[in-house]
């Protein structure tokens, strides 16, 4: 059977390289000058430079035609703030709601849950124009508060549906046992239900953070450059004179970092659920 497993290993390596290569090349590009990037044929051998990173951090882009202000660090800050607050707000609202949907069968329960999910199906463009008008009249245009609120359309259904599934898997008997021990409903929810659904909450938080981070259209229309996240901010590199690929690459590398950090942090909660084993009671 050796031939088979060698072939399999080769196939897996090729597929892996195929998918990872763009990422790898972007990281390489972030250390190259524009000249190196545009050279034909492309080569992985070059003299690395930190020029792209320093330009981003210092906020100045020195090109042949002059110096240009770059506000990428602000964009990074905005992305982090918007995504983090959106996820936190969603967790506060949706986790108890998910519990209610999981435990109590109330009239129209399924219908309400599905309606909330359907927000994800609707194209944002559908609601953007009316939303812009509302925001402007309410004074929410160009505010963090406004954007975080709109981002709930993305994050809330996700958290609700994922965490509901995990609450359904927590055995009701375990909760009843804790109540019979003399603990109140709230104590049971905080000390038993939430810890046992932690993998789901972690997964939902991570996923909604990524979706919120990647959002482009809401941030583009409903705010000015003051609160724009990295998705919109990356356009600044498409200048009148040239497209600064090196800076774009460096900007991309920067933008991956917060999500990567969050993923590493939540990873242990995702795995924890598999090892406890007794979630089903």
């Amino acid at each position: 059977m050796n031939g088979k497993s060698v072939l399999r290993a080769v196939a897996l390596t090729v597929i892996g390289l195929f998918f990872l290569f763009p990422l790898f090349w972007v990281v390489l590009m972030s250390f190259m000058t524009n000249a190196d990037i545009l050279r034909i044929p492309p080569s992985p051998f070059f003299t690395p430079t930190l020029h792209n990173y320093t330009a981003l951090v210092s906020g100045e882009l020195v090109t042949n035609v002059g110096t240009q202000k770059v506000t990428y660090m602000l964009n990074l800050f905005n992305s982090t703030v918007l995504s983090a607050f959106s996820v936190i707000l969603s967790l506060i609202l949706a986790v108890p709601a998910a519990y209610a949907f999981a435990r109590y069968k109330f009239r129209l329960g399924e219908d309400i849950a599905f309606t909330l999910l359907s927000f994800r199906f609707a194209p944002p463009l559908l609601v953007l124009l009316p939303l812009l008008l509302y925001f402007q009249s309410m004074g929410l245009y160009d505010t963090y508060f406004g954007l975080v609120w709109v981002y709930q359309l993305i994050t809330l259904p996700l958290v609700l549906w994922i965490v509901r599934g995990y609450f359904e898997d927590v055995s009701e008997d375990i909760e009843l046992a804790y109540r019979l021990d003399g603990h109140s409903w709230l104590s049971t929810f905080l000390r038993i239900s939430i810890p046992l659904a932690r993998p789901g909450i972690a997964a939902a938080a991570l996923l909604s953070f990524i979706f919120a981070w990647n959002n482009f259209i809401f941030a583009l229309i409903l705010g000015s450059s003051r609160i724009q996240p990295v998705t919109v901010g990356a356009f600044a590199f498409v200048t009148a004179s040239a497209i600064e690929f090196g800076q774009i690459a460096a900007a991309l590398v920067f933008s991956i970092v917060p999500t990567l950090v969050l993923a590493i942090f939540t990873q242990r909660y995702l795995v924890e659920g598999l090892s406890l084993g007794a979630i089903k009671g």
């Binding site: 055995s171 009701e172 008997d173 375990i174 009843l176 046992a177 804790y178 109540r179 019979l180 021990d181 003399g182 603990h183 109140s184 409903w185 104590s187 038993i192 810890p195 046992l196 090892s275 406890l276 084993g277 007794a278 979630i279 009671g281």
Partner: protein
């Protein structure tokens, strides 16, 4: 004044009545077994007593006080679940300590009481393990310890031995009463195993279709079952039930069992002419390979069962009867089909009305 009093309990789910007009009285310190086939409503009943569900009608009182409207955490009820329901993210010690922690008992006293209870149940050496590191038997004892440590008024044991292997299950029949006696608790023990029910209970309450059809001592439910259904639930193999139509003849009552006429003792006068089911347990059917005045049958199969031998008999008209006898006799080594004669010990005969199954 009964310690636990349940009156007229009713509970339905989606127009399906699970508990119908159920009533029960228990004295303090009594050990009652609730026995019934699957689907009879045992789990719903326990949840009503624990407070997880609210009844549609009826009342539950503990020590003179109604608890029907009281939340589970204030009812002073302890419960051990079929699937243990241990908190997977806490050690065995913390699991058992939970009822004491909620009452803000001092840490030193918690330690003493948890260790004492654990010692009684022989799990004191695994208290620092997480549930996933415990064996089935240890998990079950931990669940039991947790339900007892707070010395609640009422202890509910929901088929705690169901998922435990056969040897430990048997041992617990002797150990459980011993442990519970140390706690002086009023216990409701639910099981689907009739042998467990008869071994453990002072009284056995048979729950069928949402209500108690008979509450009595093990002797009562076995020897004098009030319905056909209850008669079938006790005994392995189940009681033989043959439809008969008793007629008065030859200065007595006669019935036709498996093609043979059987004369009944004269005190069965009031059911002549009624459509009945005649019931006789396998241990009251004696089989012989030598011709006698019993019913002629073919002995189709001999299956040993613990220390007895169970025999499958086939009579005329295809009637199937089971007989059993103690091991160590001539039946032990038979294999195959034989001509035989079956004699019925009519002192242990049961008669039930064929329509409603009630005992005559």
């Amino acid at each position: 004044m009964p310690f636990l009093e349940i009156t007229g309990l009713k509970k339905s789910f989606r127009n399906h009545e699970i508990i119908r007009d159920l009533s029960l009285d228990m004295e303090r310190g009594e050990f009652l077994v609730v026995f019934g086939p699957s689907g009879c409503g045992k789990t719903v009943l326990l949840r009503l007593i624990a407070g997880m569900l609210r009844p549609d009608a009826g009342d539950i009182s503990i020590d003179g006080q109604s608890v029907t409207e009281v939340n589970p955490e204030y009812r002073d009820v302890g419960m051990a679940f079929q699937n243990y329901a241990l908190y997977p993210h806490m050690t065995a010690f913390d699991n058992i300590a939970s009822p004491l922690r909620s009452r803000h008992v001092k840490e030193a006293e918690i330690k003493a009481r948890v260790n004492e209870t654990a010692r009684m149940l022989r799990i004191d050496h695994v208290l620092d393990h997480l549930p996933k590191a415990l064996s089935q038997g240890q998990k079950q004892r931990t669940a039991l310890a947790r339900s007892l440590v707070g010395r609640p008024s009422v202890v509910l044991l929901d088929d705690p031995l169901r998922n435990v292997d056969a040897k430990i299950r048997y041992e617990m029949r002797f150990e459980l009463p011993r442990v519970l006696r140390g706690f002086e608790s009023t216990v409701i023990y639910v099981t689907q195993d009739y042998k467990e029910a008869m071994a453990l209970g002072d009284r056995v309450a048979v729950l069928v279709d949402g209500a108690f059809r008979q509450i009595g001592s093990p002797l009562d439910v076995y020897d004098v079952p009030s319905t056909m259904r209850i008669a079938r639930l006790f005994g392995d193999p189940p009681i033989n039930l043959v439809p008969v139509h008793p007629v008065t003849a030859n200065a007595g009552i006669e019935i036709n069992v498996a093609g043979a006429t059987v004369r009944l003792p004269p005190d069965g006068a009031d059911f002549a002419g009624r459509e009945c089911m005649f019931g006789i347990r396998s241990e009251n059917v004696a089989v012989s390979l030598e011709a006698n005045d019993g019913i002629p049958v073919t002995l189709d199969a001999i299956t040993p069962l613990n220390n007895r031998v169970v025999m499958l008999l086939r009579g005329a008209e295809g009637t199937e009867l089971f007989a059993s006898c103690p091991q160590g006799g001539p039946m032990d080594r038979l294999r195959g089909q034989y001509q035989a004669w079956a004699k019925l010990d009519l002192a242990h005969a049961h008669f039930f009305d064929r329509g409603d199954g009630v005992r005559i």
